[in-house]
Symmetry: C2
Subunit: 598 residues, 2 copies
Amino acid sequence: MPVYKAPVDEVTFLLRDVFHLDRYNNLPGFAEATPDVVEAVLGEAAKFSEAVLMPLNRLGDQEGCRRNPDGSVTTPRGFKDAYKKLVEGGWIGVSAPAEFGGQGLPVVINQAVSEFFCSANMAFGMYAALTQGAAAAIAVHGPPEQKKLYLPKLVSGQWTGTMNLTEPQCGTDLGLVRTRAAAQSDGSYKITGTKIFISAGEHDLAENIVHLVLARIDGAPAGTRGLSLFIVPKFLPAADGSVAARNAVSCGSIEEKMGIHGNATCVMNYDGATGWLVAEPNRGLQAMFTMMNEARLGVGVQGLAMSEVAYQNAAAYAKERLAGRALTGAKFPEKPADPIVVHPDVRRMLMSMRAFNEAARALAVWTALKSDIAHRSAEAKEKQAAEDHLGLLTPVIKGVLTDQGFANAVLAQQIYGGHGYIAEHGIEQFVRDARITMLYEGTNGVQALDLVGRKLPKDGGRALQAFFAEVTAYAKERGADTAMTPYVKPLSQSLGDLQQATMWFLQNALGNPDNAGAGATDYMHLFGLVALGYMWCLIAEAAKSKAGAGGDGAADRMSQRLATGRFFIERMLPATATHLARIKAGAASTMALPAEAF
Amino acid sequence: MPVYKAPVDEVTFLLRDVFHLDRYNNLPGFAEATPDVVEAVLGEAAKFSEAVLMPLNRLGDQEGCRRNPDGSVTTPRGFKDAYKKLVEGGWIGVSAPAEFGGQGLPVVINQAVSEFFCSANMAFGMYAALTQGAAAAIAVHGPPEQKKLYLPKLVSGQWTGTMNLTEPQCGTDLGLVRTRAAAQSDGSYKITGTKIFISAGEHDLAENIVHLVLARIDGAPAGTRGLSLFIVPKFLPAADGSVAARNAVSCGSIEEKMGIHGNATCVMNYDGATGWLVAEPNRGLQAMFTMMNEARLGVGVQGLAMSEVAYQNAAAYAKERLAGRALTGAKFPEKPADPIVVHPDVRRMLMSMRAFNEAARALAVWTALKSDIAHRSAEAKEKQAAEDHLGLLTPVIKGVLTDQGFANAVLAQQIYGGHGYIAEHGIEQFVRDARITMLYEGTNGVQALDLVGRKLPKDGGRALQAFFAEVTAYAKERGADTAMTPYVKPLSQSLGDLQQATMWFLQNALGNPDNAGAGATDYMHLFGLVALGYMWCLIAEAAKSKAGAGGDGAADRMSQRLATGRFFIERMLPATATHLARIKAGAASTMALPAEAF
């Protein structure tokens, strides 16, 4: 059976020593996030993940969700009870506004909680995450009466939420959406169409399901400029907030899929279902993007979460499984063989995962703090800078953390040898579950195009310049510190690769946009490596300042961080050169063949 | 439903234009492999793969194998009939000696046939491949009466074969094998123990199953030096070759696993089963290695096979699925959107797979020809050089073709977007099936160690020096041809990286073997890139000489090969630099943490 221990100490170290949470006490909700409160929240989230969610993970995979003849969906055994506990713990509202029943804590705390939940049980964690996303969209775009009616239910988890974008003929290209909305005299709309791949579209966990649906009002323009966002509840709510009549929306089938079997992926049929506009007509895509951007960061964190739990299991296996002897001589001569953790190639795999996980978590924390600033700061300039960061880093976090999160699940499986292929160890489930993160909320290719095609040029490149300026200033300032040189110097070199790549796009993509498209994925990964390298510099600096301090192995942990950072810098960061070489190769050979040659 | 068209033209081009099969006519069996014969064999294999095996692939995954209460195993519907056709077609004996009923054709032909079978249905193909492996081990090591009794049955496919190495406590480290063999007065042995992960261990396809089993004769030394290889048939054969009494070997259970569900992965219980020695006592490992080395090459080809079929399906999907518009302007303005094949990032993925597949197939063909020389040449020097090549390239082909084959299945899945995660498209099955190739027949980490720890230093580095000499001489000779410069110059640079890495091991691994272990996987991939780059040079040269010649689009195919080679050289080969950087980083940061820190 797989194991999991939530990395509370890691999160605490990042919040306290690397990003200095207390410096943000001017923002609403932060003063309340005292070290004691944070410790309590993370500790409880860890307990819930380890004791309630993890034990259900494999069962959820095996049983999956079942659609009954009446269209209702039964979740795996134990999910209902776990969901009840999730609601009782107030976990969906950790960072939701207090006026709607939330705890109002910083987003960065909620993100750590989400990571724990997803590591322990990704399919289950999605029910909560989608509800938070729906609440966020309504909170930003919905009219006051919608907020009053829906937000308390979503924030508590009494009702859950979904996102309905994809249709059989369109996913990425939402301009092709065919679902129609017909205006009614009472201000409501009748929604008709078919949506597919709707996670948590139907289930037995909550009394109501609030679908946010992209549809086209009759007569609206073609393409994305004619899309509106609707709220379509499974049960129509009465004025007092109780559930009334069943709406004309139903689950037509559940997809048979590679993983996340514990989450029902539904085909949803809208047969003249009653819905209400969220946001202005024809402004649906913008409103949906509020939800989607949060979701993309969340999916990046899922990638990290899968990498973390896969790593933990592989590490445990590597310390237990006996095979061969250390190349430098037997480490446990009294045993029939040494544990495989002695082998350098096994170490390489473990260290690769660990060096990624620790920096990826830092990147997620850093960016969540920017999200908090963007949402809560009263200062326009600080707010704008935070929004710039968010826009720029969201595709990087989504794309890189999920590509690497999946790759790491595969690496963890590799450490098990043939046993990794067998279901009972649970590691192959992590691989199957992690695979979806590279696909949903926009494939990673779409993230790369968003980064290169939209985020780089936005506002004259302001966000990118700010990122370059921050890292450059950091490197200049710390470059003189010889203790930091082994970290900072390679970072500067890789930053140089990223700047060269950017310059190459500037010079070559205007004339031929295919040159940007062909290099987009490499650019995203190059950017990710630089960002993760920067995180390692920050971590190393904090760890150095704490080295030798603290009992209970805390000093050991600091020196381990320094060594892990060295591994990242020496072994992983150099890949920026290859990404740069690929980008500079341009689109010529990529686009050389006629389409029919494939 | 997935599609597959066997790449007969690709194989023919390699055999005829790149490797000049007719130059080998001095070897037994080659003169018979006339272009007509090869065309007929490949054509029939293609038909069998496309019409019989492919249609069973998804069904086999869904149904899987079922163990019945009596210990018998039922294969998926249709497998039995397909196996009957396999036997009727004589497919197991394509390159087996004529004296035992085989066709005696070159191994290189059989390998192409195996690729087609595995692309179409990997789980099914394994039944044939394991039977060929068992036959090879008996042919090389068995006493004459064993050959006479077993080989005709295995070569025809009337009986199938298995390899029994792994036990619960040992996989890679076979020194820990506990299965015992007790000598009987009649020269036979009683075999007792438990073997796990036995592919095709029990099934309903053939009348008998011939298990080759590693066990320790009572009183034999501990470790691998005390292992002997036994032949343990499911049914004891009568002198006339008919099956007689049931032997005391049975399938205890079938593993629930990630993929290859159509192949029964069995726990085999040996309860005093009757067996006979193959090869000398305590020389079992050497004999098993005959089987294993062939199997490793075969598994490398499985990696290619999965990459090929995944590519073909992704290419078909990319030409069909509509989303967005080409960055350079709509290509199909009359359609609601362009097919996604117009997008550079989709092209990048398709080209990456294709550029790998074509060179990987060349590498496999090149090496299979060396296998033919090693087995069939009468000239000692030529034979030795071929054996050197085989030993050196086997771990590279196994490790690189399966790592990349899996990565390409994942890439193909990515092209489908969310649809790639849904079972009905069949693409996620390729990912799950391909995953095993990195694990079985020695994990890829074990391949890397075999390459670096055994194959490099063997015979004073003779094999490696021969490889370097060949590529260096080639580059020198062709370097002056300006048409070849874009291919040859980067190859020389990457060869330089490989030579530097080798030198670094020489200088740093003697003092600390962990420096070799920590760089082994990167070395294997660096080697693979150079070998594939060399293949692209050979392909490009052949394609250039044929450019403009031939009708029916043959000239187009040649120019497409040149462009695909350019893609490999510009986009994939540069990764050698990163591998070199990692190797040179040494073991320090990899091994820095104490084991308990993981």
